[in-house]
Structures are given as C-alpha cells and as structure tokens.
C-alpha cells in the first residue's frame, strides 16, 4: 500500500469553483514528488487536502494509513504532528525569535526542554541557521525565513513534508539553496516530500517524479520528469 493515496477525489469550494476533479494518485514512502501546473490549477488545494486544511467533497485521502477525509476536527492536530508544512509566505510567528518559532510545535506537544533544545539544534544545523537563533523573523532575509520555516517543519521528524511553492518569493540563488536543503532532508531523513512549484529550472534540475495538474485534473505523471507547460487542445 502506498504511503499517500488519493482515490477519486473531488473538491469544490463553497463559491462553486471546482478545484479538483477525480484525482487518483499514489505516492510511496520516501518519494520526492513535484506537483506542477499553472496558477489556479489546484496544486495548493491538493496540498491542503493532505494536511486537512480543506475537506474533500467526494473520495478518499489516505496519509500513512489514516483516512484524512474522515478525520474529525478535534483530531486534525494528530495528523499535523506527522506532517511538516513549508509555505511560500513562511507563516512564522512574528513576535517569536527563530529559536522560539522552531521550538513552538515541540513546546505545544509538551516535550521537555532538553529534548526540545536537542531537536531544535538538529533542525537548525540541517538548514544552516545557527547564528540567527535569537533574531526575529523581520530581521531575516526571505531565504533565511524560509530556512526557519523548513526547520520548524522538520523539527518533529515528520514522515511527510509538504512544500507549497517554497521558492515562490525567493531569487534563483536562494531558491537553489533551499532546494538543496529540502533534497538533503529527503535523502537523509527519508521523509516523503511533496512540493508544488512553478519553477521550471528547479524541476528540470532535480530530476524527480513530476505530476502535472491542469484545471483540477492530473494530466501527466512522469518518473524523473521535466517541467511541462500543458495547454488546452
């Protein structure tokens, strides 16, 4: 059984916009998958279904054996502890320092200070941000803020890391650095990585599985694929 399975998934928003239609997808443990497609194609909706920010209208979403589509609101936090999410806009808590932002999930789980410190330092070393621990998010560059976001996503050693256009706001050099960090995490930690992106250069350079979504439908799924620009015939 695949680590992630989407079976006949449909998602329509309350305003009537159909975001996904009959999506079927299997992703194995430890895989690195790019989800590509133009703006509004349904990439972000697909990601949101995986960490239950959105609910499906029809179909099933299984993550690590858990039927996410049937998860009760009060239990969503249990899923999110196993999933690390990296956002385009970083979503850092502005009034907390870098250390506090990374430690936040672990503190809220009630772990002891020693374990928290060890795990935060491990995550910080992976993303290379040791000198900025006492800084606040607004004192960091975009690339640095994204590193903090990645560190927060991996601090609980999740089995799945979802990256929603993580390089969207970064310049090409910073984007490459961030991609190297994420690739390293995938290889060393064995976490499954699902990344939605627009960045042609990154997709072509990484040579990973590429799933293309167009108007809410999977139009291609290639092993070690390249960026394709799908157009209506």
């Amino acid at each position: 059984m695949a680590f992630i399975e989407l079976n006949h998934v449909f998602k329509t928003y309350k305003n009537g916009v159909s975001a996904l239609a009959d999506i079927n997808l299997q992703i194995n443990k430890g895989e690195f998958v790019f989800i590509i497609g133009e703006s509004g194609s349904g990439k972000s909706t697909l990601n949101k279904l995986l960490y239950r920010e959105e609910k499906v209208n029809k179909g099933n979403v299984m993550v690590g054996g858990v039927n996410v589509s049937k998860l009760k609101n009060g239990n969503v936090y249990k899923l999110r502890r196993k999933v690390g999410v990296v956002f385009q806009d970083f979503k850092l808590l502005p009034k907390l320092t870098v250390y506090e932002n990374i430690a936040y999930p672990l503190e809220s789980y009630g772990l002891d200070n020693k374990t928290i410190r060890e795990r935060v330092m491990e995550a910080v070393n992976r993303v290379g941000l040791k000198e900025k621990l006492r800084s606040y998010p607004d004192q960091l560059s975009g690339g640095e803020q994204q590193r903090v976001c990645i560190a927060r996503a991996i601090v609980n050693k999740p089995k799945l890391i979802i990256c929603d256009e993580p390089t969207g706001d970064l310049d090409p050099k910073m984007s490459r650095e961030i991609m190297d960090v994420i690739d390293k995490i995938n290889t060393e930690m064995g976490s499954t990585v699902i990344m939605s992106t627009h960045d042609k250069e990154i997709v072509n350079r990484m040579k990973k599985r590429v799933v293309c979504i167009h108007r809410g439908v999977v139009v291609s799924d290639q092993e070690k694929g390249k960026y394709i620009e799908y157009e209506d015939n």
């Binding site: 920010e53 009060g74 936090y77 999110r80 502890r81 999933v83 979503k91 009034k95 503190e107 002891d112």
Partner: protein
C-alpha cells in the same frame, strides 16, 4: 509531567503575550477597568440602599395601647395572643406597665414628675411594644391585633416611614437588577474587546493549528491571558472602591442628610465588593478570551 509542562508553558506564554501585544492588552485592560468601576459603584449603592432599608425597618416599632383597668391575667392573655401572631418579632415584644411608664417619664422630665405627683391616679396606659418581621405586612398585622380584647388603639410609626421603606425596596430591587445588567454588559464589552484583539491575532492562531497544536493547548495561554488582563483591569476599580468609598464615608461622617440614612461601614463591604470585582474581571476575561479563540479553531 507532560500536562504540567503544557500548563506551566501556558502561564509563561500568557505573561509574555500580554507584554508582546501591549497595545491590544491595554485596550482590553482599560475596557475592563471602566466597566468594573461602574459595576463597583452599583454594588456599593445596592449595599447602602439595602442597609438603609434594614435600618428603617429596624426603627419602625408598633405600640399597642391597652385598655385601662385590665387584670394581670387579661394582660397575660393579650401577650400570648400578640406573641402568637406570625409577623410579630418575638424577641422584641415588650410589655410596659402603667407604673413602669410613669417611672420612666418622671425620670426623664421633672415637670412631668410634678404633674404625676398631683394626680391621684396614673393617667398613662400600659403598652406592648414590638417590631414586625415583615414591614410590608404591618397594616395587616395591626388590623388583626386591633381586634383582640382589651386593645384600645395602636400606633405604628409614621406612615411616611412605611412608604419610604416600600420605596427603598423598589430602589433596592432596581439596584440588584442594575448590577446584574451591568455585569452582563461588562461581559459583553470585555468579550467584544477581547474578540477584536483575538481577531488581529487570527493569523497567529492559524499557524498554531498548522503546526499540530491541539485546540486545548492553543486555548490554554489565551485562557490565562484573559485572566491576567481581567485581574489587571480590576486593580483600578478595586482601589477606587476601597479608598474612594472610605474617603466618601469619612467625608460625609457616616450618614447622608439625616440619621435615618446611615451608610454602611466601609470595612464591612469594600473587601466583598473588591472580591466580586476581581472575580468578575478574571472570569469574564478568561471565558471571553477562550470564547473568542474558539471561533478561529473551527475548520
């Protein structure tokens, strides 16, 4: 251990958050303070109206004038009858004989003493004096006692006093309703201010949810934060209540306009009122805050 850590972390985060969101905290604190000052005033007013009513009730006595030439046995019968009336306060019932009254009056007034000496018989009438348990039923009680044998007539204070008592009772009830209404308004105002402050922190709440924090753990610091804000907000009302009321009491000398309107001694009410203010502030802050957070935790 994990629960204790989450709990202590909640308190720590709450304190930090009050200072990190200082302007929002100050908005909530000042809104709490203003409403609690009004609640405090209403409580003190209610206490005083209550006390004034009680005081007037206490001084309102009924005097039953007994026929002349009544035997001791008949007086005893009358006493038993009066005593058996439900509205008569048994502890206050007192019989004053003709001789006793003559003695009392003679001791008080020399002229009267001389007048009594010139008379062969005692012109005074023996009386029964008592207070009633329920002032509202005083008319009924008096009418009933008037029917008893050997009762000549009855005097029971000024009709004005009885009207004043009924009026104060209306005021007292109005005050209780006002206090309850004000507490409800306080709850509404404080929780609305907190709602606005939480609204500006909804981004923070969504991040907490996204990183896998359970709803209970998210709510905990907000619960403590609301409590801290409520307690800080009650400081000024408590100080005003203690020192302001004591100053006013001393300034007017304990009573207003006449000896009939006696104010309550500050020592016996300011601490109770302060406790109520602290509790209202703390609890409203706590539940207002959690209630405001709850709506952002729904998916």
């Amino acid at each position: 251990m994990r629960i204790i850590r989450i709990f202590t972390r909640g308190i720590r985060v709450a304190f930090k958050s009050v200072f990190r969101n200082l302007s929002l905290s100050l908005a909530s604190i000042s809104s709490t303070s203003i409403t609690l000052v009004i609640v405090g005033l209403a409580i003190l007013f209610t206490f005083n109206v209550n006390s004034i009513t009680k005081h007037i009730e206490d001084v309102l006595t009924v005097i039953v004038f007994v026929d002349k030439n009544v035997t001791d046995e008949e007086i005893n019968d009358l006493k038993t009858k009066i005593n058996s009336n439900d509205n008569v306060n048994k502890e206050t019932l007192e019989y004053r004989s003709q001789d006793y009254l003559k003695e009392q009056l003679s001791a008080k007034d020399d002229d009267l003493k001389k007048v009594f000496e010139t008379l062969d018989t005692n012109p005074l009438q023996a009386t029964f004096v008592f207070r009633v348990s329920d002032v509202k039923k005083i008319d009924e009680t008096v009418k009933e006692i008037e029917q008893y044998d050997h009762v000549d007539y009855i005097k029971y204070g000024e009709s004005l006093a009885s009207k004043l008592v009924s009026m104060l009772e209306v005021i007292r009830n109005a005050c209780v309703i006002t206090v309850i209404a004000l507490i409800l308004v306080t709850i509404f105002l404080i929780s609305n201010t907190i709602k606005i402050t939480i609204f500006s922190r909804r981004h923070e709440l969504s991040i907490m949810r996204l990183v896998g924090t359970s709803n209970t753990v998210i709510k905990l610091p907000f619960l403590f934060e609301g409590f801290i804000i409520g307690i800080i907000g009650s400081i000024i009302p408590v100080l005003l209540n203690i020192f302001g009321y004591t100053f006013f009491y001393d300034y007017v000398g304990g009573d207003l306009f006449s000896e009939l309107i006696v104010l309550v001694n500050p020592n016996s009410i300011v601490y109770t009122t302060s406790l109520v203010l602290v509790l209202v502030g703390g609890l409203v802050g706590m539940f207002g805050s959690v209630n405001a957070v709850r709506r952002y935790l729904k998916i």
